[in-house]
């Protein structure tokens, strides 16, 4: 039996990760947990990029792309956590459903 993983396996795992990340982002009330969902989504795309780079004809373009994504994710999460901290200072809770002033 050949247990060598193929491209399809990687794609399945990344699709599952993406779905879980989106689900987490939509359903979590805690802002920090919602941000973890975002990280899962970005990393599922990273997995795709690296897998395509390894198995496809694309050379190392995908790995370079993945490196940039990691950098951007770090920058994004820095701003996001600053905003969550500001939310916590003003409302004494990290829950997103506390922020419901703007409607209409």
């Amino acid at each position: 039996m050949n247990l060598e993983p193929t491209l399809a396996h990687y794609l399945l795992v990344s699709a599952a990760l993406f779905a879980l990340g989106l689900l987490g982002l939509i359903t979590r009330r805690n802002a920090v947990q919602a941000l973890m969902g975002v990280e899962l989504m970005l990393n599922s795309a990273n997995l795709n990029l690296v897998a395509f780079s390894r198995f496809g004809t694309g050379g190392i373009d995908g790995q370079v792309f993945g490196t940039f994504v990691i950098v951007v994710a770090a920058a994004e999460v820095a701003v996001a956590l600053a905003l969550v901290l500001a939310l916590y200072r003003m409302r004494r809770t990290p829950n997103l459903d506390a922020a419901t002033t703007l409607r209409g």
Binding site: M41, A45, F52, V64, F65, F68, E76
Partner: protein, 495 residues
């Protein structure tokens, strides 16, 4: 080294804006009298960038190892971005703003320049990596700008909503881009187009369709298209008014730039000076439904708004739907329609936000009911607002008319099966006229409660609004020139 210098020569405007940004940060941290130079330095760097852009010469080329496209199309779009940023800085009197009182303006200018810089990159992105990087570089400083009123919980809430929607849609777009890379085997847009023209791996048709759908999520978020628009009214309401005005024109222009490049260059084939569809992805169909939903929902939701910032937010969503008509048309005329619409939109929407900011600076209110009797309290403001609203409606002789003329013309030229789409657009324009007239009625006809005193208007604001109002009429007199610019920018080479 030669390639590097050559690339640098094609991105002088970006370099100037970047230097201006660094200078602003240094001056701000120096403090004291140096801070007074921040405003002029920002304006100067944008002006110099515009001059550098207008003097740019040379054949269309992909610079920076194929990351940046330096062609006439990107030149015109970059000019629009610089013009929009410049008008924001000139027409809003930040010192008089009630919202920004007590907050440092150094970071404000730095962030504004950072977004403008990233928009310049996004408008000329020629590689999937650059598309993603530039899009995030636009988004991240935008979140901070929306959260700028750090003691106002609404500003924080708006930024948080903006960030979560932004992160979700850019993550989705990235997943789509990774699929495009997997199918095409390259990240360059020209390479993707070449791969589409050749033979693709068997069974990739569904994958490609899915990838296009996911990528549109990212573009849709940037231009605030339905169903990725939820952040837009909240972000505009919570953000300082100049930021809302800026977000409604500059990143939107960049978003349409990248959408147009991706649709026309990666997902289409250029054959003999016309665009042909890649056989397996019918993206105009997809985009058409997004556009119909966007304009309809934007206009219907705007009907019941009483907060002017929210009203303008929904109106900007509806306008994104009209601009998309030009992309759906998938032709040279359609592309020119997008360019004309974006140009006119910068002038009319910044004007409308300018009036809203001026009224808030003296009245402290965004409520439409407080606009009653404006024609008596400040005839100049009422007249300027009427000009911008008529332009937004798309009535001649105001410039807004031309945007609609070009995109509707491009759609009708596509043939009878698109007539119903143009019809939906026309009905939408009529619905939009209703709420724009409602604002005018509030200013002129509605009875005043009590006798509010005349509005005080800063000299700079008055001058800026007069200039913007004039810019909403004057280009009509020399429309041939504007037409020529867009004709030169939107050329499909026969190959």
């Amino acid at each position: 080294m030669d390639a590097l210098l050559e690339s640098l020569a094609r991105t002088v405007p970006e370099a100037i804006v970047c230097l201006g940004l660094l200078l602003v940060v240094v001056l701000d941290s120096a403090g004291g009298a140096a801070r007074r130079a921040i405003g002029p330095i920002s304006v100067l760097s944008l002006l110099l960038a515009l001059v550098a852009l207008s003097r740019e010469t040379g054949a269309p080329v992909a610079s920076w190892s194929g990351m940046i496209a330096s062609d006439p199309l990107s030149a015109l779009l970059r000019a629009l971005i610089l013009l929009g940023t410049l008008l924001v800085l000139l027409s809003f009197d930040l010192g008089r703003s009630r919202e920004l009182k007590g907050l440092g303006l150094g970071e404000f200018h730095a962030l504004l320049l950072a977004v403008a810089f990233a928009c310049l990159l996004l408008a000329s992105a020629n590689d999937l990596v650059m598309v993603y990087l530039a899009l995030e570089m636009v988004s991240i400083p935008s979140y901070v700008l929306v959260a700028y009123l750090k003691r106002d919980p609404r500003s924080n809430e708006a930024a948080l909503k903006y960030l979560l929607f932004g992160a979700a849609s850019s993550g989705t777009m990235l997943y789509g881009l990774s699929l495009v890379y997997g199918i095409a085997g390259t990240t360059s847009i020209a390479g993707v187009s070449a791969a589409m023209a050749g033979s693709l791996p068997a069974g990739s048709s569904f994958g490609l369709w899915l990838a296009a759908l996911l990528v549109f999520a990212g573009f849709g978020f940037k231009v605030a298209a339905v169903p990725f628009h939820f952040w837009c009214p909240d972000a505009y309401e919570g953000a300082p008014t100049p930021v809302a005005a800026f977000l409604s024109v500059v990143p939107k222009t960049a978003g349409f730039a990248v959408m147009m490049r991706f649709c026309f260059e990666a997902l289409s084939l250029q054959r003999g000076g016309a665009l042909a569809l890649v056989e397996i992805v019918d993206w105009p169909q997809l985009l058409m439904w997004i556009s119909v939903a966007t304009m309809t929902l934007g206009n219907v939701a705007a009907l019941t708004q009483t907060n002017m910032k929210r009203l303008l937010a929904y109106s900007s969503i509806a306008h994104a739907g009209y601009v998309m008509m030009g992309v759906v048309a998938m032709s040279e005329d359609g592309g020119r329609g997008v360019l004309v619409y974006l140009f006119t939109y910068v002038l009319m929407n910044l004007g409308a936000f300018g009036v809203v900011a001026a009224i808030h600076a003296s009245e402290g209110s965004f409520d439409l009911r407080d606009y009653a009797g404006l024609h008596r309290r400040s005839p100049l403001l009422a007249l300027a607002m009427a000009t911008f609203l008529l332009s937004l409606m798309g009535l001649p002789p105001f410039v807004g008319f031309f945007g609609k003329l070009y995109v509707f013309g491009a759609i009708i030229a596509r043939g009878p099966e698109f007539y119903w789409y143009a019809g939906v657009g026309a009905v939408n324009a009529a619905v939009a006229a209703f709420y724009y007239f409602r604002v005018m009625r509030a200013m002129v006809i509605d009875p005043e409660t009590g006798t509010a005193p005349a509005l005080s208007l800063g000299g700079r604001e008055a001058l800026a609004l007069c200039a913007l109002a004039a810019l909403n009429v004057l280009p009509t007199l020399a429309w041939g020139r504007v037409d020529e610019w867009t004709r030169a920018a939107m050329v499909l080479l026969p190959r």
